[in-house]
Symmetry: C2
Subunit: 150 residues, 2 copies
C-alpha cells in the first residue's frame, strides 16, 4: 500500500477533486428517500411552496458527495481518511437539480501529537463548488494522520 | 401543514428521535460504495490491518443516519429543517456493524434575526448514541426557522 504521511504535508498544499458529481433528480431523490425524507427534497409540488422555491438536494447529500470527491483524490494514498472533528461548516447556497459538484481541500495546519509521536493532526479547509467556481459548502476537517515510521 | 415556529422553542427543549437505525453490514456497504469507497468501510480483510481493526461505518453515513432520525421526529411539524451552519462536530467513537443508532437534539439558543423579523436562528446540540446511551457523534446545528406569522 502506497501511503502518504503527516510529514508529507505543508500548510497551503492543495488537494483538488479529480472527478465531478452531477446532482441529478434521481440521485437527489435516492439519497433523500433513505436519509432526509423531507418534501423539499422529494416533492416538486410541495417544494415550490417552501423557502427555496423548488427541489433542493439535502445538505447531507452534498456533504456526502464532497466526501466521495475527496476520497477519490486519495490524499493519503492507500491510507484511510480518519476524521476527528469538523468546524466552521457553512451551507452557503442551495444545491439544485443539475448542479455539478467539485471539491478542493487546502491544508490549513499540520500538528504533531504531543502524547503520541507516531501520529498527528491535519486541518483541511474543504470547499465544494458547483459549475466550477460557485461555492456551495465550506468546512474545516481535523484528520488523524500517521507520521512516517522512523 | 401543521408547522412549529421559532417562537415555539426555548433553551433546554429536547427533541428525541422516535425510531432507531441499525448499522447493518449491507447498509454500511451501500452507503460507502456510493459516497465513501474506502477499504475500511468495504473490505474486511483490508480493514483489519487499519486503525479500527475491522469494518467501521463511514462517519458521513452515521451523520446521514442522524439526519434521518431527527427528520423523522418532525421538530418543526410540516416545515422543513434548513441548516445554515454546523460547529463542534466530533467523531467520538467508530460505529461498527450491528450498532443501533438513536439521536437527540437539545435547544441551546433561540435568536431572532435583527435584519429579518419574520425568521430567526435555532441552535441545537445533536448527540447520536449507539445501544441507547454510548455517544458516537456530537454536533451543534444552526437552523433558519420562520417566526410565527403575526
Amino acid at each position: 500500500v502506497n501511503r502518504r504521511y503527516l510529514d508529507d504535508f505543508q500548510p497551503g498544499d492543495r488537494i483538488p477533486s479529480e472527478g465531478e458529481y452531477e446532482m441529478t433528480l434521481e440521485r437527489i431523490r435516492d439519497y433523500a428517500t433513505e436519509y432526509d425524507p423531507q418534501p423539499i427534497h422529494l416533492d416538486a409540488a410541495a417544494a415550490v411552496q417552501e423557502m427555496f422555491g423548488g427541489i433542493v438536494a439535502s445538505g447531507w447529500h452534498s456533504l456526502s458527495v464532497t466526501m466521495q470527491l475527496i476520497v477519490e483524490a486519495r490524499p493519503f494514498g492507500g491510507s484511510p481518511i480518519v476524521g476527528v472533528a469538523i468546524e466552521n461548516l457553512r451551507f452557503l447556497r442551495p444545491v439544485r437539480t443539475g448542479d455539478v459538484l467539485r471539491a478542493e481541500a487546502e491544508v490549513l495546519s499540520v500538528r504533531r501529537s504531543a502524547s503520541r509521536p507516531e501520529q498527528g493532526f491535519l486541518v483541511l479547509r474543504v470547499v465544494t463548488v458547483r459549475q466550477g467556481d460557485e461555492p456551495v459548502l465550506t468546512q474545516d476537517w481535523t484528520l488523524l494522520v500517521p507520521r512516517r515510521p522512523q
